[in-house]
């Protein structure tokens, strides 16, 4: 009998410890990733209640949100950040959790580290006190962001209660045009389905466009599922997944790897798999995409003008007006040519080696515009090391970009990397919310790393297809 369950439901069923009379599932969690921002209060809950970490070997900690990327000498200049670092060091030591700290080469953004270390594998349930945990769905896992109370629950029991979501298959077929990247695909999907469209759903990204993507591109797509309201997004495991995992530090080896790979591939949604909803897009409709507003759905193709208020339904006008006013942009104006002040290449969306290679390829032989401050923040120490082996840092530095240490940096500006005042930032990150990049009135334009690089060099939003 063929299994008509989609991957999500196969993995869910595998991890269901019990179902409560109210329909909630107590779900076993295969991998718990923690970081310094959302864990201290959780450890405090354990201490208050005299509890231990139930499966310390299934818990991995790193530091990313608050770490400075210029100088990492301890104690940090920011005493609050220093206090948080001390807290995670103490908590991990006391509760027996492995911590990849700044002295450990494996340190980096939690959603870069998990895949890089082979911790993230198909068929797992993965949680982290961070909404971009959806990144790990790229491997065909159920990966969701959780709050701090949930972090305490998972630390103490390796389980949590969840309602089973519906599953929407988001199909994109076809070859992406030159200059169109994974980032553009997910920005396009969010533009079409909205920031709330995915609430109550897990997104299965399927179709030939995703089949052709590398694992790093798939991570970029799944990373921003949450920006579309879907707590979890995933891509079915295939040979690309298997090859990425072969030889990773935490991957199985030898005959065990073969058994694992067979299981991973068996989880993929089959041809008869059932979905609660299906939407279909064409890769050929996607162009380099740029956000112009204060939600990730407020975006346009770079050749397109901003929407006109008259074309928008009455209920959305208030939001659009608020966004235009905050961004100091006009309805119907082109996005191309919008002047920028800062360029940021980094974040759990786009800070992996393939992102840096592409940005360096574009930056090579050019120089950042005189009025632009441009920084490159690798996603992990290992990404940074690899980039330096390839000489990418020299390309960036010669082009006028600052080359930094690994961390979350200006994606959410919990460290010293912040916008100032009304600065406009071309950013490869994931959120253009008001104040997101550290200045309450700072402005963010989300785009691919390639487009950020082109904008940094020209000094304004530039169509990468016209950049030479």
């Amino acid at each position: 009998m063929s299994d008509n369950r989609n991957l999500f439901n196969k993995v869910w069923d595998q991890h269901a410890v019990r179902t409560l009379p109210n329909g909630q599932t107590q779900l076993f969690i295969g991998l718990h990733l923690i970081h310094e921002v959302t864990s201290p209060q959780a450890f405090e809950i354990l201490r208050d209640r005299g509890l231990k970490v139930a499966f310390p070997e299934r818990t991995i900690a790193t530091v990313d949100h608050i770490v400075p990327t210029a100088s990492q000498a301890r104690p940090f200049v920011d005493l609050l950040a220093e206090q948080m670092m001390s807290a995670i060091e103490k908590n991990c030591a006391e509760f027996g959790v492995t911590l990849l700290d700044l002295k450990d080469k494996r340190q980096g953004i939690v959603h870069v580290v998990g895949p890089e270390q082979g911790l993230t594998q198909p068929g797992m349930t993965i949680v982290c006190g961070d909404s971009h945990t959806s990144t790990h769905g790229a491997f065909g896992s159920i990966a969701i962001g959780i709050g701090t109370s949930n972090v305490a629950e998972v630390l103490a029991t390796q389980t949590m209660f969840l309602n089973r979501p519906k599953v929407r298959r988001v199909v994109v077929d076809g070859k992406l045009a030159p200059g169109v990247y994974a980032k553009d695909v997910i920005l396009y999907i969010i533009q079409k389905l909205g920031v709330q469209g995915g609430v109550g759903y897990a997104y299965e990204f399927a179709g030939t466009t995703f089949d052709a993507m590398s694992m790093e591109e798939r991570m970029t797509v799944c990373n921003m599922s949450i920006e579309g309201g879907a707590r979890c997004g995933y891509i079915n495991p295939d040979q690309t997944t298997v090859e990425y995992l072969r030889g990773r530090p935490n991957s199985p080896v030898g005959a065990e790897f073969d058994r694992a790979a067979a299981w991973w591939l068996s989880l993929a949604s089959g041809p008869n798999a059932v979905f609660d909803d299906v939407v279909v897009f064409k890769a050929s409709d996607i162009e380099p995409t740029v956000t112009w507003g204060i939600t990730p759905a407020q975006s346009v193709g770079v050749s397109q003008p901003l929407p006109k208020l008259a074309e928008i339904g009455a209920e959305d006008q208030k939001l659009i007006k608020e966004a235009l006013e905050f961004m100091d942009l006009k309805e119907g104006q082109p996005i191309k040519g919008t002047k920028i002040d800062v360029a940021f290449i980094g974040s759990c969306t786009n800070s992996r080696i393939s992102d840096l290679r592409e940005a360096a390829r574009i930056a090579s032989g050019h120089h950042v515009a005189p009025h632009v401050k441009a920084i490159v923040v690798p996603g992990s120490q290992l990404v940074r090391e690899q980039a330096m082996k390839e000489g990418l840092h020299e390309v960036f530095q010669a082009a006028g970009f600052e080359w930094r240490e690994a961390g979350c940096s200006m994606c959410l500006a919990m460290n010293p990397d912040k916008l100032q005042g009304r600065e406009m930032c071309a950013s490869s990150s994931n959120r253009n919310f008001k104040g997101r990049q550290g200045s309450p009135t700072g402005r963010t334009l989300l785009m691919s790393p390639a487009m950020v690089t082109a904008a940094a060099i020209r000094g304004f939003v530039t169509d990468i297809r016209e950049f030479a």
């Binding site: 295969g30 909404s131 959780i146 109370s149 029991t157 959410l412 959120r431 919310f433 104040g435 997101r436």
Partner: protein, 198 residues
């Protein structure tokens, strides 16, 4: 752990009928540089408040409010529990909105904050009533799933699992999870990647 049954919240209300309010706006990231949730209350919506002198959170007439009236997709974005923590510490005990982002909704449940949904039309009527009379007593009854405000009675909804947990005082999820400790160990022994895929 003994925990409070939450069946009804009564108090004045605060209208903030905006859409797609993200958790960065509720509590800007710089205030996440902390190891306890203490002191987050005063920073709720801090940057929005600084930019809007008429922000409802700064209006004296709404200062004592315990029920927040919000729009569509409230609490989207970051998973930070600091967001509902800051609202709770501000004095908010319940939220009624057109819809909620999922992680935020779950975080409210963990803190015993009822997060209920009402239609836009009803929310606008409620917001108007409160705007006209800020001392109006508003009652959210989770058992009847109704909000009553003077003459106004509006239906609200909340998923049963979360609603029942509040009503029966079983929203200490950690305690309930721990009660299955043996089942958890037994389950772990069947998970393929914990047993060498044999």
């Amino acid at each position: 752990m003994a925990i409070k049954e939450i069946k009804q919240i009564t108090g004045t209300a605060l209208p903030l009928l905006l859409d797609d309010i993200d958790t960065d706006r509720i509590i800007p990231a710089r205030f996440l540089r902390c190891v306890t949730f203490d002191g987050l209350g005063e920073h709720a919506f801090e940057d929005d408040r600084k930019q809007d002198p008429n922000h409802p959170f700064d209006q004296v007439r709404f200062r004592a409010a315990s029920i927040l009236i919000a729009g569509r997709n409230f609490g989207c974005g970051s998973s930070r529990e600091h967001a509902p923590q800051s609202l709770m510490r501000w004095g908010i005990q319940a939220i009624v909105a057109e819809s909620f982002a999922e992680i935020f909704f779950g975080n409210c449940g963990s803190l015993g904050i009822p997060a209920v949904v009402a239609s836009r039309t009803d929310l606008e009527r409620l917001a108007q009533a409160v705007d006209q009379n800020p001392v109006l007593q508003v009652t959210l009854n989770l058992e009847t799933q109704k909000i009553t405000a003077g003459e106004l009675v509006i239906p609200v909804t909340m998923p049963n699992s979360a609603r029942e947990a509040l009503i029966t005082g079983q929203w200490d999820y950690l305690g309930r999870l721990l009660s299955a400790a043996d089942d958890i160990r037994a389950h772990a022994a069947k998970v393929p990647y914990l047993t060498g895929w044999k």
